[in-house]
């Protein structure tokens, strides 16, 4: 993590699940069934605890024990000032800048219960390589997002496919909980996550934000 990002993005890491249209569509039929009964109404949120924080260039430990590890390429939005009950049309004024997040997880077969075991392992949230101020990124909703494993593209999408754009996420979240300076909003991972193995180099590239690299190691 660059010094600037490390100094600024010190708050809570809030994740948004099911925020890519392709991913949501894949599961819609299932979401009409129990235990879900109906598709989500509000943003589907989770928290990455501080022990998950990790940096550009660092190792990510594969849990082993027959578990599967999946990278989660995501655009990170770093909050710049306290946002409580912010309207969508003013929301971007509360953003300090953008960065790349690799939101590692075990596979999510179910979204019914909080994914603590899948998502809160040590080092499961790599952030970096740097903070790009809002002034340097004209449109955060048209960015190509690519996952490379050992140099080969394995997953790609674009932030144009968000279910909710950044202003709408900030508005709906800050309606009930304040976003503080330094909090990071992880805007979602697209469909078709892939498995990675110890020895793999995993990189997430987002246009205009650089490339976030991590190395998978055995426990």
């Amino acid at each position: 993590m660059s010094r600037a990002l490390h100094d600024v993005a010190t708050g809570t890491l809030f994740g948004v699940a099911l925020n890519y249209q392709g991913l949501l569509k894949q599961r819609l039929a299932e979401f009409e069934q129990p235990p879900y009964q109906k598709p989500p109404i509000k943003p589907v949120l989770f928290i990455k605890t501080p022990n998950t924080r990790n940096q550009h260039g660092a190792d990510v430990v594969h849990p082993g024990n027959g578990e599967r590890l999946q990278p989660g390429p995501a655009l990170g939005v770093v909050i710049g000032k306290t946002a409580s009950r912010v309207r969508p049309d003013e929301a971007l004024a509360y953003v300090a800048g953008y960065t790349i997040v690799n939101e590692f997880s075990l596979p999510e077969d179910s979204y019914y219960r909080p994914a603590v075991k899948a998502k809160c392992r040590d080092g499961f949230c790599a952030i970096g390589p740097e903070l790009v101020p809002t002034t340097q990124l004209a449109d955060p909703h048209s960015l190509a997002i690519k996952l490379y494993v050992n140099g080969v593209i394995r997953q790609q999408n674009t932030t144009a496919n968000f279910v909710r754009n950044i202003p709408l996420l900030i508005a709906e979240i800050s309606e009930f909980m304040t976003l503080h300076e330094g909090d990071v909003l992880i805007t979602g991972t697209p469909e078709d996550r892939v498995d990675v193995q110890p020895g793999d180099t995993v990189e997430v590239e987002i246009s205009g934000l650089g490339r976030l690299a991590n190395h998978i190691v055995a426990e």
Partner: protein, 256 residues
């Protein structure tokens, strides 16, 4: 001994709590309970347990879980003793949950249950309010139900592990406006504190200041603006909170 975090004359102090809840600052000054603003005594992540009392699970029409159902709270939802919590407008059911909380004192990874208590800083109490209207079946209980601004009172203090010889046999009680509404015992917990520390630390490192809120027994009821809600865990603490309206809460915030 009881350890509190308080705000007094523009500064945050770590303090000891003496008789009548008087607060002793490090510099020796002794302040009355109502002279200080009580802050949450810890500010790490909170791992809160759902359905961890068999009677409460039955009350909600759930089978007791076979694996702990943990969800996470972040510091923005905490508030201290004698503070207010807001009830959103136009909801039908907001209820309290009286809970014993274990506070982590040192990093805990792969801890066995027989050693688990060595990793504790002590115990506190929380009121894990929920707005049931907002339940959705995604990461349930979802953040809109459980991680709202100032909707998890924690405190008043942390009491030392040595001062709670049997955390598995403590009375939990909740009063609304002085009327006893919830009564249970930590004896009826499904997964106890040593088990929960072993479980969570088997896949992640618990950090100093992290908290495990161990769930609530049956006896839930709706609360409305104006209500005084007291949750108490025997031998640990008595945590007072007042419900205000959405308008009152946010207008006070604007003034602050």
């Amino acid at each position: 001994m009881k350890h509190a975090r308080i705000h007094f004359e523009g500064e945050v102090h770590l303090a000891h709590v003496e008789d009548n809840n008087a607060v002793r600052l490090a510099d020796g000054r002794l302040l009355a309970e109502d002279q200080v603003q009580w802050l949450p005594p810890a500010t790490g992540s909170m791992f809160a347990l759902g359905l961890n009392y068999a009677d409460h699970a039955a009350e909600l029409a759930f089978k007791p879980p076979t694996e702990p159902l943990a969800f996470i709270k972040s510091p923005g939802t905490y508030t201290g003793h004698n503070q207010v919590t807001w009830r959103p407008d136009n909801v039908a059911y907001m209820h309290y949950e009286c809970e014993l909380v274990a506070v982590i004192g040192k990093p805990a990874r792969n801890v066995k249950r027989e050693n688990a208590l060595e990793y504790l800083a002590g115990y506190t109490v929380c009121n894990d309010y929920a707005i049931r209207d907002y339940l959705e079946n995604y990461y349930r209980p979802n953040l809109r139900v459980k991680n709202r601004d100032a909707t998890t009172p924690v405190g008043p203090w942390i009491v030392d592990v040595a001062d709670v010889p049997d955390p598995g046999n403590l009375k939990l009680r909740t009063w609304i406006n002085g009327e006893l509404r919830q009564e249970g015992s930590t004896r009826d917990m499904i997964f106890d504190i040593p088990y929960l520390i072993e479980y969570l630390s088997s896949f992640m490192t618990l950090q100093p200041g992290d908290m495990i809120a161990t769930g609530t027994p049956e006896g839930l009821a709706d609360v409305v603006p104006g209500d005084e809600v007291i949750v108490e865990v025997e031998g640990v603490g008595r945590l007072v909170n007042r419900i205000v309206s959405e308008a009152e809460f946010f207008s006070a915030q604007k003034e602050a």
